[in-house]
């Protein structure tokens, strides 16, 4: 299986969790990788997240050396979790703002480790 296909499979698994509305991988080296679908009804918002997340990387790189692991921001009824695989790559998940974030985070962490392993194998 090609690297991107393996990553897509991990993202598809994450998306099957009830509270995960959308997810993607974004990074300087990987580009943006998304599953085949999204549960997010607001497609304009989804496109905005896909198109603009990478713009945060110059700031992320500054903070990464100080141990930046995750960024959270609330967007209306949604919460966006950016979880960093390295200073150039982030796994992004969109969940309802009232979801049980703790439970989702455990699976985000598992997905992040799986993706890290896939990327590591390719290097």
């Amino acid at each position: 299986m090609a690297r991107n296909d393996e990553i897509i499979a991990v993202l598809e698994d994450l998306l099957r969790m009830e509270d995960v509305q959308a997810c993607l991988l974004t990074g300087r080296q990987t580009g943006t990788i998304t599953p085949k679908s999204t549960k997010l009804k607001n497609l304009v918002l989804w496109k905005l997240i896909m198109d603009s997340s990478h713009k945060l990387f110059p700031v992320i790189e500054d903070f990464y050396v100080y141990g930046l692991k995750r960024l959270y921001f609330e967007l209306g009824e949604y919460e966006v979790i950016m979880s960093f695989i390295d200073e150039f790559t982030a796994l992004i998940a969109v969940i309802p703002s009232l979801a049980n974030r703790g439970l989702v985070e455990v699976e985000i962490e598992s997905s992040k480790r799986a993706i890290k392993e896939i990327i590591g194998r390719q290097k």
Partner: protein, 420 residues
């Protein structure tokens, strides 16, 4: 203990058939002829439960299989809030029996009694001296009532309707508080010489519906117990990392000891927010309460042990706890994330070197710690080394030593380790 073969297996496949095949192959390799299998799955697999149970129970027809739905689990493989796990034990010096009690929310005493009777009957010819019980009982299920979708009900009329409706829904639909303690009262009364670890089954903490497993059967509103007699020894302990702060008094509480109406003689919600020094409207915000209630449990003493109780529902004049409280001295408590993790190490450290371990931990701790739950796993791994262990995330946990009364807890970590 060469003849003891324990396997804790994990599957992250999606299809029931594939899950069962993966678990089967791991168990067959490490614990080929198990006496019992404890099986737990997250609610994502609810449409696959039957298939998984049917296949595993058929393949391991000599083994007793019990378990249920959980919010997540930890083992040597990792931390998961989606997946299926099994603990299988193959050991010749062990007799096992299963007890099932039904309609736990309608008639918990009868369910407990029925469970205990089956365990007694199943183990009556056993000559082995140490008795232990694994208990899994259906936990809290919140009924959907029109106009009461939140964990905070501010309207007085709606409060009356919900309080009245709880009894009705409890009896007719078996939706409401779990009544696990009423079941356990009966079980422990009839099996006093058994040690015990208990977990209340739950879904993904949406508290809609949870399931229990027994053999090939998928049950709801049931108690399933696995009783064992063995020559193995066991150690038990629990912790929560909480420290008591301000003392207060519950001055009015419902007959079932779960609806607190008055604290220090004042309406409970108002007085509780005053004690916590938090504005009432902020603490009991209709939208946010479901996310913040785990941070404000209270504590009560049983002997010298502080047991936590969380308020899961706030009404205009009263508050519903997830398990029984008593009138008298109660404390607000403080818990740091660090202490939540440290208490696992503290609980395990006095215990002797184990062969394997099983723990039940409150799903609220999982909600609160999130991905930092892997620190709990680090502590488990540091203690168990390469030995197998399984932690399941549940809505209530209990622990009992033989010939002692049991402790029922929320927001805690309870563990039993088995050794020669």
């Amino acid at each position: 203990m060469k003849d003891l073969k324990v396997c804790v297996a994990t599957s992250r496949q999606w299809k029931g058939m594939e899950v069962a095949a993966e678990l089967w192959s791991k168990i067959k390799k490490e614990s080929p002829d198990p006496k019992f299998i404890l099986l737990f799955a997250t609610i994502d697999y609810k449409d696959e439960f039957k298939e998984i149970l049917h296949r595993l129970a058929s393949e391991f027809s000599n083994a007793q299989l019990v378990g249920g739905s959980v919010a997540g689990f930890i083992n040597q493989d990792g931390c998961f809030t989606r997946g299926v796990t099994a603990l299988a034990v193959d050991y010749p010096n062990m007799d096992v029996a299963v007890g099932v009690g039904r309609n736990t929310k309608r008639n918990p005493e009868k369910a407990g009694s029925e469970c205990a009777r089956q365990i007694k009957e199943g183990l009556k010819s056993s000559k082995l001296k140490n008795s232990f019980l694994f208990s899994f009982i259906s936990g809290l299920e919140i009924p959907k009532m029109p106009g009461a979708g939140s964990s905070v009900i501010k309207s007085g009329i709606m409060t009356k309707l919900v309080k009245g409706g709880m009894g009705v829904s409890q009896f007719l639909m078996q939706k409401s508080v779990g009544r696990e303690e009423d079941v356990l009262d009966q079980i422990t009364k009839e099996l006093p010489d058994f040690g015990m670890i208990h977990g209340s089954t739950i879904d993904n903490v949406k508290v809609g519906k949870n399931y229990q497993f027994c053999g090939k059967e998928v049950l709801t509103n049931a108690a399933v117990c696995l009783g064992i007699r063995t020559n193995m020894n066991f150690d038990s302990g629990f912790g929560n990392g909480a420290k008591p702060d301000t003392k207060f008094n519950i001055t009015e509480i419902s007959k079932n000891n779960q609806i607190v109406s008055r604290i220090n003689g004042q309406p409970a919600p108002r007085e509780f927010s005053r004690l916590l020094k938090k504005p009432e409207d902020l603490l009991f915000d209709e939208k946010r309460f479901i996310k913040i209630f785990p941070y404000f449990p209270c504590g009560m003493y049983q002997g010298d042990r502080l047991l936590l109780r969380a308020f899961g529902l706030v009404m205009s004049d009263s508050m519903l706890t997830m398990s029984r409280m008593h009138k008298g001295d109660i404390f607000t408590v403080s818990i740091t994330g660090k202490n939540m993790i440290e208490c696992v190490k503290e609980t395990l450290s006095p215990m002797k070197k184990p062969e394997f371990g099983f723990a039940t931990e409150c799903a609220i701790r999982l909600m609160t710690l999130g991905s930092y739950i892997d620190k709990v796993r680090d502590n488990m791994k540091a203690f168990f080394k390469e030995k197998p262990f399984l932690v399941i995330y549940v809505s209530g946990e209990a622990l009992k030593k033989p010939n002692h009364e049991y402790f029922y807890m929320n927001e805690s970590f309870a563990v039993t380790t088995f050794r020669r």
